[in-house]
């Protein structure tokens, strides 16, 4: 299965269209935060932009810490979330090594990239792509 890769972030202009598209289309919200892809500069805009997004770890370190198995490994990397099973503890967000899980303070659920690719068509500079995972993408 393909995964979302922010392969060309040096091209990013900081328009946030990807984040807003994810929030709008996946999470039915208007937000910079409730989005599986979050864009930020590091130390001011002159340093350029980075994308915080699920790396599709395989196996994912967030899944085993979930006490109710609400997060389960996704085939090809990343996780699938079963909201009904979530007890809102936030352990998954703490376990993510790259802070790609945003623990939504209102819904009290994890928000992360589900590798659906709906943000890709909203990037005007082709910074994002859906691609097959490479060896480096997983933890193994």
């Amino acid at each position: 299965m393909k995964i979302l890769k922010p392969s060309n972030m040096k091209r990013c202009i900081g328009c946030y269209s990807c984040s807003l598209a994810c929030a709008r289309n996946v999470h039915k919200s208007l937000s910079w935060k409730r989005s599986g892809i979050r864009i930020h500069s590091s130390g001011g805009i002159s340093t350029g932009y980075e994308a915080t997004v699920c790396l599709a770890c395989d196996p994912p370190p967030c899944a085993p810490v979930c006490p109710t198995e609400a997060l389960r490994p996704r085939k090809g990397g990343g996780v699938i979330f079963k909201e009904k099973l979530c007890i809102h503890c936030g352990e998954c967000a703490t376990a993510c090594p790259v802070e790609a899980i945003y623990f939504d303070p209102v819904k009290k659920i994890p928000v992360f990239c589900i590798h659906c690719g709906r943000c890709v068509s909203f990037c005007p500079h082709d910074c994002l792509e859906m691609a097959e995972p490479s060896k480096e993408d997983g933890n193994e």
Partner: protein, 591 residues
């Protein structure tokens, strides 16, 4: 339509804040309309612009964050430049940050006892002592503010002033997120008078999409996004950007050079949009919520050692700043323009106003109207290093001459002489020497800006010397632009947002205006804005059009003074009639 405007009101004197709600959405729409409505509510029309009670207002629009290019924030205040109601529009991340902080507007009143930074998000408000930033430039200030609360990197906007704002220069600007500004009419000085060094807006909350209309909203969004990214409607703003205008305007003999002593120069190639793009363009960046990416960042590389030792800086450029710090000062090297733009940025001055003011000072020195004991440096057109020094003297108000120049070129000219060649039309001219319509439009325009009516375009039409057609053009443009600025969209998006599209966008989010209701609201906002402007001292009869504008030679030939003054007289009547339509309900009693 039933949601009220949610406004954060911060009193710096008492270090207290409150949230207020205003049930005026249908009347004021948002942006320019909301800012004017709030100004009437909070301002003291008869007090000094620097009086602590005067509000500094930031307002966003009903479409902010919901649609592409709806990325502007409207700042309004009593201008220290002319003592009148003023608006300035800025981008960066400011609009979306305010949206996601959960407010439609911010109103700051009072004066902090010490230099202060106001930081807020959806669940926090901090008023922090930053006395240690006194006199600090824009860049260092930005670095320090990034370490203060609220910490929310990537999802916040940082507004700050430099020494010019602290010293209350009449055209001190407010820097937004390093590369954007609230410029021109002195918003930076108003912040300075409030002892407000910076504002950090944290966009940390999530909001609901329009209830029951998500399908329709998504459809309208996709249509607009496609128009913006695929139709070519805004392509020019991304490619060369606004500097694309330099060569065409120079060819039209409409580009001001050397204090408007000329409108054309063969050296144009050295500071053209193409030159910047080919040799110095590092990359483009965007305002949050806008896929266009019109902000052009140039690479300024400087050798500082005998060996190959270099430092570099990133400097944003646009058409207007290249005019202000370039052609108007006779600078004919692109790195020279960037050097001056970096300096003006660092100090927190408006690049256009400062450039035009220094252009007047240069000619005044040339003509012996003032001496070097006043200018301190030997100002000469084309001399970059002299202007670097002069900018520092200007921001620092280092003597009486620079103190007066900091109030505007015409103020200095009234004291020292040389009024005829002060290129001031209500404020220091923008970079369009296109002809009579534009000169009158800027002189009398609401913001004294080329953006008020776009009359520089009408100057280029065949019927350019028809008073009735000119007034019709300016009025229809003003009405549309007020609508665009009330939904708080970027004016670069005009082709993507005809009125019908704005109406469709509003309706898709549950703001059910009929076309007639929207028209009526915009007309009411227009009358209201003009009424406030007149009530705060605007008197078009007193607005001068200095002699230099009558000597200008464009592709049409010389300025026609007869047409110009008749147009001015007619336009004044139109504006007075507009202002009389508004009845003040709160602050400003009708005289």
């Amino acid at each position: 339509m039933n949601s009220m405007f949610k406004v954060l009101v911060v009193d710096l004197s008492r270090k207290k804040s409150k949230v207020e709600y205003f049930d005026t959405r249908k009347t004021w729409i948002g942006g320019s309309g909301l800012a004017a409505g709030l100004f009437e509510h909070f301002a003291d029309f008869d007090a000094d612009p620097f009086h602590p009670d005067q509000p500094l207002i930031l307002a966003i629009g009903p479409l902010t964050g919901l649609f592409p290019l709806m990325s502007k924030t409207i700042m309004s205040f009593m201008s220290p430049y002319n003592g009148q109601y003023a608006e300035s529009h800025g981008g960066g991340r400011s609009a979306l940050a305010l949206r996601f902080a959960g407010y439609d507007a911010l109103v700051v009143t009072g004066r902090a006892r010490k230099l202060t930074c106001l930081g807020f998000g959806s669940q926090e408000i901090n008023i922090q002592d930053v006395h240690y930033l006194k006199g600090m430039d824009i860049f260092r200030t930005g670095k320090v503010l990034r370490g203060l609360k609220p910490r929310n990197p990537g999802h916040r906007s940082i507004l700050r002033i430099g020494p010019a704002g602290e010293n209350r220069i009449s055209y001190a600007c407010v820097n937004v997120d390093t590369y954007r500004h609230f410029g021109r009419m002195g918003g930076g000085a108003v912040m300075g008078a409030k002892n407000l060094k910076g504002i950090i807006i944290s966009g940390d909350s999530t909001q609901d999409l329009p209830h029951g209309r998500i399908k329709e909203y998504n459809k309208v969004y996709r249509e607009i996004y496609s128009t913006v990214t695929e139709s070519g409607a805004v392509r020019k703003y991304h490619n060369l950007g606004t500097p694309e205008n330099l060569i065409p305007l120079n060819e039209l003999r409409a580009l001001p050079w050397r204090n408007l002593q000329s409108t054309h120069d063969p050296e144009i190639e050295s500071i053209s949009g193409e030159k910047f793009a080919d040799d110095l363009l590092l990359r483009q960046v965007a305002c949050a919520g806008c896929p266009v990416g019109c902000i052009h960042i140039g690479l300024l590389r400087e050798r500082f050692g005998h060996e190959h030792e270099y430092l570099y800086r990133q400097v944003s450029y646009d058409y207007e700043p290249i005019f202000g710090m370039g052609s108007m000062l006779g600078i004919t090297s692109a790195p020279g323009v960037l050097t001056l733009l970096e300096e003006v940025e660092k100090l927190g001055l408006d690049a256009i106003s400062a450039g035009v003011a220094l252009a007047w000072a240069t000619e005044a020195l040339e003509k012996g109207v003032v001496g070097i004991d006043q200018t301190i440096v030997d100002l000469q057109f084309g001399n970059v290093q002299a202007y670097v020094q002069a900018l520092t003297h200007l921001a620092g108000q280092d003597n009486e001459f620079y103190l007066e120049l900091g109030k505007g070129a015409l103020v200095a000219a009234e004291k020292y002489g040389g009024e005829d060649f002060a290129c001031v039309l209500g404020q220091e001219m923008a970079g369009y020497a296109t002809g009579e319509n534009y000169f009158v439009s800027q002189a009398l325009g609401f913001r004294h800006s080329h953006l008020d009516t776009g009359a520089y375009s009408f100057d280029q039409e065949e019927q350019a010397r028809d008073i009735h057609k000119s007034i019709d053009y300016m009025q229809s443009q003003e009405i549309y632009r007020i609508l665009m600025c009330s939904v708080a969209g970027c004016l670069f998006g005009r082709k993507a947002y005809p009125k019908e599209t704005i109406l469709k966008a509003l309706n898709s989010t549950g703001l059910d205006y009929s076309e007639q209701e929207l028209d009526q609201a915009v007309q009411a906002i227009q009358a209201h804005r003009w009424a406030i402007k007149f009530r705060t001292g605007f008197n078009p009869d007193e607005i001068k059009i200095p002699g230099r504008f009558l000597e200008v030679e464009t592709w049409k030939g010389r300025t026609d003074p007869d047409y110009l003054f008749k147009l001015k007289e007619k336009y004044q009547e139109v504006l007075r009639t507009l202002a009389e339509k508004h009845v003040f309900t709160t602050n400003g009693d009708q005289e």
